[in-house]
């Protein structure tokens, strides 16, 4: 049994969950669409994009990045539940590679997030968002968004394995909000007080959101600074850095189940 094959079998388990209980992922999607509508139409009229441009065009890539960040929750929850219920122990007592469990999670969550992105793309187009860049750039934007999700996966796996409890899950559920809002996902950093804007600009989420805006050909709301010049580079560097930190931490947390 190769680790890859075992990982794929564990991924299939999660995909089978969708078929059995489709309401979980459907509510997740509806939540994303609701946020989109709330910000796009309820608050959007009062929001100006620095440097000009339509707010819906500005918002869509930000919402996509935000939903990639929120993915950390579902990863941590699923991982923690399996560890607590003994399912992880059952896998660990089987003759499969030790990376299989994490790989299974990666496969399932990346599939889930890809579907979520596609729904937001279609939903965005339906409310008037447009891709004005070329197709290759747009595809690159999608890849960068998925790269952010990939790095969130390792943070989620680490938290799930390390803390294994309802408490950690609740903490993640609460913390993603300030982390999500303290970025350029929904409003431009340039409309914030200077010090707050600086923090928001350095949020990894802002890098991905700004890069996706550039690549989709949407207004970025950034008129100067590092983010304006190197958004794509930062959108690659941040997730890679997070992965380099949290993938080994996840592996260590998995090994420490043996302690």
């Amino acid at each position: 049994m190769t680790t890859l094959r075992a990982g794929w079998i564990i991924t299939q388990r999660d995909l089978a969950h969708w078929v059995r209980q489709p309401w979980g992922p459907i509510f997740g999607l509806m939540f994303s669409i609701m946020l989109l509508l709330v910000f796009g139409f309820l608050f959007g009229g009062a929001i100006n994009v620095p440097g000009g441009g339509d707010y819906i065009a500005y918002l869509l890539p930000g919402m996509m990045a935000l939903s990639m960040l929120f993915g950390v929750e579902s990863t941590a929850t699923a991982m923690g539940n399996d560890a607590r219920k003994g399912i992880t122990d059952r896998f660990r007592a089987m003759p499969i590679g030790s990376a299989s469990v994490a790989l299974g999670r990666v496969g399932a969550d990346m599939a889930n997030s890809t579907v979520e992105l596609l729904v937001m793309l279609v939903g965005g187009l339906a409310v008037g968002w447009r891709i004005t860049g070329d197709a290759v750039a747009a595809a690159l934007a999608v890849l960068l968004l998925l790269l952010l999700r990939f790095s969130m996966l390792w943070i989620g796996i680490f938290i799930g394995l390390r803390f294994r409890g309802e408490g950690a899950t609740s903490a993640v559920q609460v913390l993603v909000w300030p982390i999500g809002f303290l970025s350029t996902a929904i409003v431009s950093a340039e409309t914030m007080p200077g010090w707050l804007g600086a923090i928001a600009a350095w949020n990894p989420l802002s890098a991905t959101a700004t890069a996706a805006r550039e690549l989709f050909g949407n207004p970025t709301g950034v008129t100067g600074g590092v983010l304006a010049d190197h958004a794509v580079l930062l959108a690659v560097a941040w997730p890679v850095l997070l992965t380099v930190i949290f993938a080994p931490l996840s592996a260590r947390a998995y090994r420490r189940l043996r302690a």
Binding site: M1, A6, I9, I10, Q12, R13, A16, H17, R20, Q21, K85, G86, I87, D89, R90, F91, R92, A93, M94, P95, I96, L257, R258, A259
Partner: protein, 302 residues
């Protein structure tokens, strides 16, 4: 050669010696009971033998393989049924078994065939497609055990498989365990219940504070810890009867509790001779508390 062998296992968690010189020898094909109270180290012993935790010291071999250096081979030879049913609640019973079968390296078709076989053996065919969350406690446990048997393992580890089950479900699980052993799988069963070990195991190791404090067949252990207890409710000379029987009196309920040493008939004859009329008589096994009291009293204080 022993199918399960543990010598001098030690595992320390902070200040607690979860395993403190744990020894175990189990020959092939038997059900071996590991009996002990909460916190005795039963689960730690199972985790050590199933390669889930690292040992501080000691040697453990399962089906001939060293748990430290041959973990992969050990894992390919065992089934583990942990304290909580570790099956996917959203999936159906059949889906669970097929998934575990495929993880053990069976092809899709072989995994399906094996799943159907196990569902049949464990009486779950009718519920095969239903989500496990709709199963009763007993059904869930049986599926859990079935999942541990996908591979037809050399050794099956069952960690308190009937804790929290009602008597009927417990009987179902007992039957499954007996059938498993009858098909040649060696079973290590941990339990807090003396009667469960008595019912199922051919040999019992009694565990406390991380090590085995007594070992033997249920009969031998019961001889060691004293026989069954009988509680009689009397009309008549309570104190006199208690003296004659060598038992303890409860004035309020008018009962005498006596250890049965020479059979019930002898007790009844003694009471008859005293002209005491028996209102109620209950025979019971020594409780685990009594077993531990007896055994730990005999153990030198360290």
């Amino acid at each position: 050669m022993d199918t399960l062998l543990a010598e001098g296992l030690r595992k320390r968690y902070g200040d607690l010696d979860a395993l403190d010189g744990f020894d175990l020898h189990v020959p092939a094909g038997v059900i071996h009971g590991l009996l002990g109270p909460n916190g005795a180290g039963k689960t730690t012993a199972v985790k050590a033998l199933t390669t889930l935790i690292d040992l501080d010291s000691g040697v453990a071999r399962v089906a001939g393989f060293d748990v430290r250096t041959q973990a992969g081979q050990v894992r390919a030879s065992i089934g583990l049924v942990g304290q909580n049913p570790a099956v996917d609640e959203i999936l159906g019973g059949r889906q669970n078994l097929v998934m575990f079968g495929r993880l053990y390296g069976l092809s899709k078709a072989a995994a399906r065939a094996r799943a159907d076989e196990l569902l049949d053996v464990f009486g779950l065919t009718g519920a095969a497609e239903r989500a496990v969350s709709t199963y009763s406690g007993g059904m869930r446990r049986r599926l859990d055990i079935a999942a541990g048997l996908v591979l037809t393992p050399a050794v099956l580890f069952l960690d308190e498989p009937t804790t929290g089950l009602d008597p009927r479900a417990r009987n179902e699980v007992w039957t499954s365990i007996r059938e498993t052993a009858a098909r040649g799988t060696t079973v290590l069963l941990t339990t807090q219940y003396l009667d469960e070990a008595d019912q199922l195991a051919s040999e019992i190791s009694v565990m406390n504070h991380g090590r085995v404090i007594a070992e033997g067949s249920p009969e031998a252990l019961k001889r060691k810890i004293g026989g069954d207890r009988v509680t009689v409710t009397l009309h008549g000379p309570l104190d006199e009867a208690a003296r004659a029987l060598g038992g303890t009196v409860d004035e309020e309920t008018r009962t005498i509790t006596v250890e049965v040493t020479e059979g019930l008939a002898a007790i009844v004859r003694t009471l008859d001779a005293l002209d005491a009329s028996i209102e109620d008589l209950q025979l019971r096994r020594p409780t685990l508390d009594e077993v531990f009291l007896t055994l730990t009293e005999k153990e030198p204080v360290t």
